[in-house]
Symmetry: C2
Subunit: 351 residues, 2 copies
């Protein structure tokens, strides 16, 4: 695209930090928020990158996202803790929660932190390497108690929020980084399809009439369609089971369900994260070798299309990051206009 | 069916226990194996019930399944343990592992046991209520290092074993009991379709030519088709991610991967199980109320077909069990012939 803008990750992170500070965020909060938004862009998750800076600045400005403070430990027992983020940004709170889980795993073999009432979490993928770099496995799930947009199997109305699921696993080479939703598609992809005037590539929506549909415009119709659980018309009971897994382990285990989520918590999320320390169970390096064998078994599978080798989760994102750390991060004209809005709003000229 | 045979669960359990003892199983091993096979029948999982008694008797007779002894603790750290089952039956070892995990969760909030080299595990669903009855959540995953029958996304050859995934969750009413595979279908369902001369209801297989197929006969052709990961042709990368989750958390965390599984371990499984004690995080009864709200949100969704209300995982199985505990367990003529074979093999007349 001729309209693309390229800037270094470092310059963008510094600029976004200043913008966030201008809206009252303390230095620590602003740095963590900027770092993890830019991390999303570096890995190619453009809907979870600086495109969302505007949203975060406005949330700080109106007090929906808290600008300073620390999460509160609500309850704790040895290897598990429940934190209340008190509407601090997930971009700031989750790295602290992972640090705590890693410390627990060193002592107990596993470490689990459930964080409720945390604002913008962005892409779970950007948090995973904190654990894998420490030689540990991590699993994360996120749900949003005030949102219901995903239908259980057999229904044409929604019970679940969009529920991302992520894992990070160290190997002897790159870590495996999986970040996916438990529905057939994400609301962001539906909105992109509307903007581009395209149909969805498979029937991921259920209309108010109960039909599985590829038409993104049904999502903004009245009455609106809802997202189908992973598995769709044939196997949606599996996706429904996985959505229940996510919401029992986040909402129910945080003692903060849909009935508790006040209007003010509209966007606030609940995150389950668990770290496992393989050194509790085997000699140093053994886990990474076993994990590498599983990775090799996937890579060595025979591709359906010979020119398309089998890919591992996270492979594309890590490759994209390597490239953009060299060349700078490319922004589309549409995203750049959002950054220009932020620059003006905060009176912080773009780099 | 006019050929169906009905017997009480108790009489069948006693009979199966005697059969297993006749093949050398100690009383404790035989009782646990019989109980959990009959539990599968009671819940309607017929391919994981007494239909598999013959297999278990033969495995005991030839020493593939160990008839006595205890699992060995390979490694342990506070809230996590790695056990080596030394080829004891999963039907005997897993209840012990869950008991250990429950005890760990009382002390640490969570308890995790990974069991490697365990023989026949049957349906994960039959183990879940041990945790839910103690007021705890349980998650289980199982894989089989010497088997590869599920393809990663984009491939027409297999990397993964059939990997079931299960959760059990206490509510204020019945527990939620989910037990599903992470592939598009199970090998048993493909074999049933072959026997019945039917096509699969959706393309769950990938042929050696790389085509998604409903034809079960491709599964026994040469070269054979393989099972597709959950998500299929459009979204199989999600099922591939879930299969990787299962195999990293079972095979890699047990330090016993496909390269380690000797020929003698052909059917031996590795199980990850984790129990969470919600009383570590909230007042008594609070978790069950939150879980019940999530269940209610699913039940209250608007059904696509008004006559088909939305079902919760485990609902059908628990209803089937209630009915069969009253009326006795019904067996098809084909399964009954297998039980007659066992009766003759062990010289233990059927009840």
């Amino acid at each position: 695209m001729s309209h693309e803008k390229k800037r270094s990750a470092e310059a963008l992170t510094d600029w976004a930090t200043r913008c966030l500070e201008s809206q009252g965020a303390t230095c620590g909060v602003a740095q963590a928020m900027a770092k993890h938004l830019v991390a999303g862009d570096l890995m190619g998750f453009r809907t979870h990158g600086l495109l969302r800076l505007r949203y975060n600045l406005q949330a700080l400005a109106k007090g929906a996202t808290k600008a300073s403070g620390q999460p509160r430990v609500a309850q704790e027992r040895a290897a598990i803790a429940l934190w209340d983020a008190d509407l601090l940004s997930g971009l700031y709170v989750l790295p602290q929660a992972i640090e705590k889980a890693i410390a627990m795993a060193r002592d107990y073999g596993t470490g689990t932190v459930i964080v409720r009432r945390t604002q913008h979490v962005a892409a779970l993928a950007v948090y995973l390497e904190q654990a894998t770099a420490a030689g540990m496995l991590i699993q994360m799930m996120c749900s949003t108690p005030a949102q219901q947009v995903v239908a259980p199997f057999g229904a044409k109305s929604a019970s679940f929020s969009p529920n991302p699921f992520a894992i990070g696993v160290p190997t002897t080479s790159d870590p495996v980084l999986l970040d996916m939703s438990l529905s057939m598609t994400a609301a962001g992809k539906v909105r992109t399809a509307i903007a581009e005037g395209k149909q969805l590539p498979y029937p991921a929506l259920i209309t108010a009439e109960g039909d599985y549909s590829c038409d993104p415009n049904t999502f903004v119709a009245e009455p609106a369609s809802v997202l189908a659980s992973l598995g769709g018309e044939a196997l949606g009971y599996k996706g429904t089971g996985l959505n229940l897994f996510s919401e029992f382990w986040t909402l129910a285990l945080s003692d903060y369900g849909r009935a508790d989520a006040q209007a003010a918590d509209g966007d606030a999320n609940t995150v389950w994260l668990q770290v496992v320390d393989p050194s509790a169970l085997m000699a140093e390096g053994a886990f990474e070798r076993q994990a590498q064998q599983l990775v090799a078994a996937v890579r060595q599978a025979t591709p359906i299309t010979p020119a398309q080798p089998i890919r591992l989760p996270g492979e594309g994102a890590l490759s994209k990051r390597r490239q953009q750390l060299q060349t700078g991060i490319e922004y589309s004209a549409a995203t750049w206009r959002q950054l220009e809005w932020c620059a003006e709003f905060c009176d912080e000229p773009l780099p």
